[in-house]
Amino acid sequence: MNLTNSFLDKFSNDRNFSLPLPFHWTVTIEDNNLPSAIKAAISKINLNLTVTSSDDWTDKLSDNIFVAQEVQIPAESIEMTSIAQENRGGFMPGYGVTQRTDFLSRNISINFLETEKDIETELFRPWIIALGVDGLLNQKLKSIITVKQYTRDGSVRKVYAFKGVFPTNAEGYTLTYGDQDFLIKTVTFGYTNYTVTTQTSPYVGDINIPTTNLA
């Protein structure tokens, strides 16, 4: 058996083994109704901030948020415990699963470029303040974040849809008179659940994104 030739044949001819480039992704936040919900919440503490939906930073053709630079897809994990018993001789302790790790500690984070009209200042910061006022009971303050990854010919190959999304932290930043790169701010989100939809082979055409399942 020629291991190298088998590997080469698989990776060069089998579409399932095509290596996708990691920068082929887009991200969307469904937040058309958010600005009114945020304004209503922050008005309770007499705050009157400019609140804009992410539409103002979104490419109408691809639904991609232009200013998003990096998305951290959360891990999937479980928490385990060792189950021991005294006087068990030479037997090793057992172990068991206690729970699936919660979605707050394995959050999704997105880095956004600061532009003159800034998405962090006009959407995420007021959104967090609104959550501080109304809490998570206000379902109107939750959204859906969709991250799509694409094949080398531009078809959607994988869709992460995060349900019940709410921002938990908008990173602060330092202003300096020294030389500095463009400002990029990290916003961290919690969520209540997520789905992953993948394209079935052959990789042609787009996936039907199951948004109806997320309502």
């Binding site: 291991l3 190298t4 590997f7 080469l8 990776f11 290596l19 480039l21 920068f23």
Partner: protein
């Protein structure tokens, strides 16, 4: 049969060779609404290069063998595309480039047109044939000025040498027509 000198001669006779002077900087439009025309300002362009394009190499390893896989495209030295100009006696061309540089960022007011250069900002290059007809046109898209190079004078030991200076631009990518 292997290629012979006769084959080379026949091919060379038919295809000829490109010459290093059959190249023009046709137009420069950069941020701040500053334009340089090929028929007037840019006739003093002395040297310029046809830019290059590269595909990044990525590697995957398997049982001791490294496989080379193509990655994304890059435009070689697109952050520093240089054109050398003859230095005019009245310094007007250099002054125009300095004006363009100050239009991008004015250190006196800390303001300027330092937005991302769009498709309207471009450097147009032409490759010519021996009849001086354009046979290739390249547009460097999103061009903006970076360095207006220094000019070295040799006051004591000068021989009357014609002076030159280099202007460096950055661009995003190029289109070929």
């Amino acid at each position: 049969m292997a290629t012979t000198i006769q084959t080379f001669f026949e091919q060379a006779k038919s295809r000829q060779f490109a010459r290093d002077f059959l190249f023009r900087v046709k137009q420069i439009n950069i941020a701040g609404g500053v334009s340089f025309n090929g028929e007037t300002d840019l006739v003093y362009a002395k040297t310029a290069a046809l830019p290059g394009r590269a595909i990044e190499n990525k590697t995957v390893s398997y049982v001791g063998q490294t496989f080379n896989v193509p990655g994304k495209s890059t435009y070689n030295a697109s952050e520093s595309y240089s054109i050398e100009f003859y230095h005019e006696a009245d310094i007007s061309l250099r002054k125009q480039f300095e004006k363009a540089s100050r239009a991008v960022f004015d250190n006196v007011t800390s303001t300027g047109d330092y937005r991302m250069p769009g498709t309207e900002s471009k450097i147009t290059l032409s490759v010519l044939n021996s009849q001086l007809e354009e046979i290739d046109t390249i547009e460097l898209v999103g061009a903006s000025i970076r360095d207006v190079g220094e000019v070295s004078y040799t006051i004591a030991e000068g021989t009357g040498e014609i002076l030159t200076f280099t202007v460096t631009f950055a661009y995003h990518f190029y289109n070929r027509f």
